[in-house]
Symmetry: C2
Subunit: 288 residues, 2 copies
């Protein structure tokens, strides 16, 4: 995990060299958001999945950095005053607090574009079919039928009372879609045809849900300092979450069940999938 | 122009069918921003360029819609209270005025992703090399070394005094990069190798600058109702523009000279480039 995190940091450091012109503040804001911090779960999912198929490390790492850039952009925009209005992220002031609101909007936008720039770059993968498929996969995960749609539902959750199936759908779009895209991009890099991705898709689906239930539990039970962000937020916003709908006990059971189920989807793989199995276990253990 | 505008509207109408779920507000905000309005100069540049190379109309139109989606996203974000704080755009309330600030950030984000989704879609072009190259071109035009970088410089212009070369660079990034990408995408669709794009690149470069000088003139001399947006903004913000740096007379001369120069880059083409020539002339005549 540390190795992937360091490698992603090094990629961002190279990509975001600060120019000596009036764009410097933009690059500094992008660096603030992207470098140093976070568990880098998404890059790890890309590299761990692509390892199953002996993908060249450089390709996996560049695609992993793209997926993290997309994730970081979403954090920067979600933290904005008009969205979740958060001051702390990954143990640091959020980008708009450190650099200003306009700079944060732009830094997010620029990281969004950077993600696609990286995926479409011939240095990431020599086969244009692989590149176009990765772009297509990420664009769908990011757009109105993915992450942006999920964030819209999350805003609506403050004024509506959602049932369990709506909260599940919300989280599948808001977090699940990008987590699934990480595994999918790993498979695309490995040129796995769609019909060969069923197990990995099942794994990603269950992992995404387990991750979100664990996040809801963390919001109630976690240590804000370890988490590096404000907690008890859903409670304050009066939102329905997996916890309010299931209760703490059942939510924990459900998360553990989903982790087992995620691992069972990997039964077609041998030891080479142990890292993916460990990631699934980690999602319900992190930051406690 | 009208025909392309209608076709782009029809594309957006299909792509942005409003779902019967809590994402409806997001789709409505995207439709508000994207449908009905604007001169559709960027889609027209894509289709007019691709016509030189007998590109299939469906491909050109889908790519044109992608470029317009990217442009519309940039307008939505530029209009935000923390950026230019505009209430009127294309004769309508801006997206954050009509739908709320969070919704406007998300609608912009979702249109940003949609642009790449469209370019990477196999229904846009069957050749993955063409798709990946279009994505790469647009991502660079949108990112920190393109539009987002230009918008950052524009924010800095409120507190710095830029000279003519810095203002030129600002505008090349902020507006020029996307205009150039439209022409480039037309050439990519036509499978024109890079060495065959010199004339078109020269055309796009000069057109982009002429467009921006005309925009600065419009900001001072234009009719706000015809323009459909607030004018005299640069003046109020105390920004250096082509006008403040050159004076009205020289700015007009310069714009006309650039239009002639843009057209001269098309000398290698015959009548089939007349639409591109007409577009160049139109850029300095619009909205007066």
């Amino acid at each position: 995990m540390r190795r992937v995190a360091d490698a992603v940091d090094a990629q961002f450091d190279l990509l975001l060299a600060v120019p000596d012109d009036p764009r410097a503040a933009l690059f500094n804001a992008m660096r603030h958001a992207a470098i140093g911090g976070g568990k880098r779960l998404r890059p790890l999912l890309v590299t761990a999945t692509s390892k199953l198929f002996n993908v060249e490390e450089n390709s996996a790492l560049k695609a992993a950095t793209a997926l993290e850039a997309l994730h970081v952009y979403s954090l920067v925009h979600d933290d904005l005053p008009c969205m979740d209005d958060d001051d702390l992220r990954r143990g640091k002031p959020t980008t708009h607090v450190a650099f200003g609101e306009a700079e944060a909007v732009l830094a997010g936008d620029a990281l969004h574009a950077l993600a696609f720039d990286l995926l479409a770059d011939e240095h990431t993968h020599p086969d244009p079919f692989v590149r176009a498929e990765m772009v297509s996969c990420l664009a769908k995960a990011a757009g109105p039928s993915g992450m942006a749609g999920g964030q819209m539902m999350d805003l609506a959750a403050e004024t509506s009372t959602f049932d369990l199936s709506t909260v599940t759908r919300l989280q599948q779009l808001k977090t699940g879609a990008l987590i699934a895209a990480c595994v999918e991009v790993g498979a695309i890099l490995g040129r796995v045809p769609i019909e060969g991705r069923t197990g990995l898709r099942g794994y990603a689906h269950d992992l995404g849900l387990a991750f979100q239930i664990a996040d809801d539990i963390l919001d109630v039970e976690g240590d804000a300092e370890l988490a590096g962000k404000a907690l008890h937020k859903d409670e304050k916003a009066g939102k329905q979450t997996f916890l309010t709908l299931m209760g703490l006990g059942r939510a924990k059971e459900q998360a553990n069940m989903l982790v087992d189920q995620a691992k069972s989807h990997l039964n077609g793989y041998g030891e080479e999938a142990n890292l993916l199995r460990a990631i699934a276990e980690y999602t319900v253990e992190r930051d406690r």
